[in-house]
Amino acid sequence: MTNKIKIKIDGKEIITDQGKTIVEAAHENGIFIPTLCNFAGALPKGCCRMCTIKINNRFMTSCTTPAAHGMEVENNTNEINDFRKGIIELLFVSGNHFCPSCEKSGNCELQALAYRYQMMVPRFPYDFPMKSVDGSSPYIIKDQNRCILCKRCIKTIKDDLGRHYFAFKERGHKLEVLLDEKMGKEISSALAKKAMENCPVGSIIFKEVGFEVPIGQRKYDHKPIGSEIEN
């Protein structure tokens, strides 16, 4: 039997289980907190900072912070929403995203969040960086142009021995997610598909099949992101 605790999000009281993170507690209670790097079943690692909230005047990531009884959380405020929009814009200008022709268009969480936060033109100048595309695996195309370095593939795509198919390379502004050359060649088609599904954007593309579902009929083409959570 788990302990029930109460927390407040933007003044609204919700009940959750001890040990749940704030984002879990919120989503169970029909309150949307946007996430990108968070992924069910994998350890949270606050990389994208999208789920930033404010507790006691301090910014925290709700995917990594456990809910504690009596906590008062600021979530849907102008200040925080502007930060979230800013993060989306930063991710757009630091890569090369070409939504209209992307295989993930309509299923892409970054694109969906950009719509939700009404990004028109990013406030930051586009960087147009030179990025590489790795097609050496028989099943996967790893495109650095569209990678937002959320770590979801790193955390979730492993072999039976626990070895990672994906890993970071370099640091800072040069950071990239690489597909291991040898393991990428040996990856199964099922795991490659899972890698693509786990990727929030179009950086991991499963080869040979494309646009199975036409653009316009995809997940976020019908309903905005978060609507599956909000009540």
């Binding site: 949270p44 690692k45 606050g46 990389c47 994208c48 900072r49 999208m50 930033t52 910014f59 990531t61 990594t64 912070t65 456990p66 930060f83 800013g86 993060i87 930063l90 991710l91 200008v93 630091s94 406030r123 930051f124 100048p125 960087d127 937002i148 370095l149 770590k151 021995l161 626990g162 070895r163 990672h164 198919y165 994906f166 890993a167 970071f168 390379k169 370099e170 640091r171 800072g172 502004h173 040069k174 950071l175 690489l178 597909l179 291991d180 050359e181 040898k182 393991m183």
Partner: protein, 603 residues
Amino acid sequence: MKDRIIEIISKYNGDSTRLMDILHDIQAHAGYIDETTIAFLADKLTLSAAQIKETVSFYHFYSDKPLAKVNIYLNDSVTANMNGRKEVLKAFEDACGIKIGGVTTDGNIGLFSTSCIGMNDQEPAAIINDRVFTRLTAYRAKQIINALKQGQQVQELVVEECGDGNNALPIIDAMVYNNIRRKGALLSHDYPLFAVIKDILPKTSSEEITDIITESNIRGRGGAGFPTGLKWKFGSRAKGEHRIIICNADEGEPGTFKDRVLLTEYPEMVFEGMVTAGYAVGADIGLLYLRYEYKYLLVYLNGILENMRKNNFLGQSIAGIGDFDFDIRIQLGAGAYICGEESALIESLEGKRGEPRDKPPFPVEKGYLNLPTVVNNVETLATVVKIIKNGAAWYNQLGNKDSVGTKLLSISGDCRFPGIYEVEWGLKISDILAMCGANEVQAIQVGGPSGTLLGEKDFDRELSYSDLPTGGSMIVFNKNRDLLSEVVLNFINFFIEESCGTCSTCRNMPYVLRGKLLKVITGRGVKNDIEDMVNWANLLKVSRCGLGQTAANPIVSSIRNFRHLYDALVQKEIEYDSGFSLETSVLESCKAVRRQPLFHHNA
């Protein structure tokens, strides 16, 4: 080669958390860490090659490409540049016939740039094959290259000049200067070696030791200022099979070099502080994380640890205390500023890329290998020994109400006497400037690039945790300096270079801000660009660690305190400028087709 790698792996019991050491050993043996080695290593450690590369590529001093026989890492700190780095670099480049970042065709000499190496009081400096060369001049650079070309070894070149104090010991033999200018409670020579371990610990309970530290009101000396006694209390209460004491000797904040001097002249006191902390917290494992740039101290420090073991100041039943077992291992870093952040340091100790962890949980609950871990600064641990020796009341007399005790300042830049000054908290900036012989001061950077840039109107402020906290880095700039292009740009480049890159904010925002800053510096900025920089920088507040949160400080604090410098550079007559220059953009293609860019709007 494979046999050698197997040997190295078994030296560390095939433990992948010792990857840092394994990579150091491989690089020492083979010169670099190539693809085949990485694949082989991955196989042996049950990791993917990509995972090994993750660690290799994160650290500045590991290389997956062949390096030269002699590798020169020329420091690129702001003080180095102020003291003539440009001329030194040119001399190196001319003498070698290569550009920075390159290796000579015969593979003999490589020339690279590196972030602050902790020699700010004796710049320009370089690390050449792990040995530090200080006070370089163009003449000296030429001489070094000529000597190397004639077949001299790097260590032979050091002989010509040697530093003071223990730097001159044959075991260190470094041309590094301590430049201790002012001694106080910590540095004064009333320290009988190991008296606390020998005489006090056996008679005092671990709770009493923690109480004395709590009552002394000492706070962490690395910069964050967490109360040390409280940290120890948390650490001692947390449950775990082992408890860990880590000494953070990864001082990487540009302009700080106090830990280097402590480790050179007072290493026994630092280690004794670690033993004391171990006793108080109930820890059995001690780790000192030494930044790679101080590798020249490694053999010397290990020798001191060996002596301590011989005298039962380390090992089992230390000083006859039946159940007190504690030993210390030194872990060498590999060049990453971010590893000064305690949880990034722990990740690095576990053989991974130095990426800060999310908190909670804090290291005192789950730190190194998920065990309760207390991380303290070198200076904090050394001070602990003096506090236990002289009592909490003695320590409380020093400093001011808000911030108790003394602080080591690493002062450099435009002053006559750069070096280490031990001062009591509460000292005014104007007194610090007078003390180090600084004249015609335009600005002082308090607390390194992640701190604040102060101008004359702030010179009567006092050092304290509540007003002006500092890890000790103080860089002085006189009125001839161009603060924006010489200082702020250098600092922001530093943050771009040293970000771990995990947070979307810190990975991208300093880079975006640099674009704006360059726009202003090159005269294409408009008033709105200044406002943009201030507003955009806010986004960094939601970064995970201190580095990310402070990465825009050089820009934000210089706009706050030196707004006139920005105003003077922006275009007054227009409100908008794209920052795009057609002339510059087509320069290269014009060169290729051999014609001059000519635009009608210029006519």
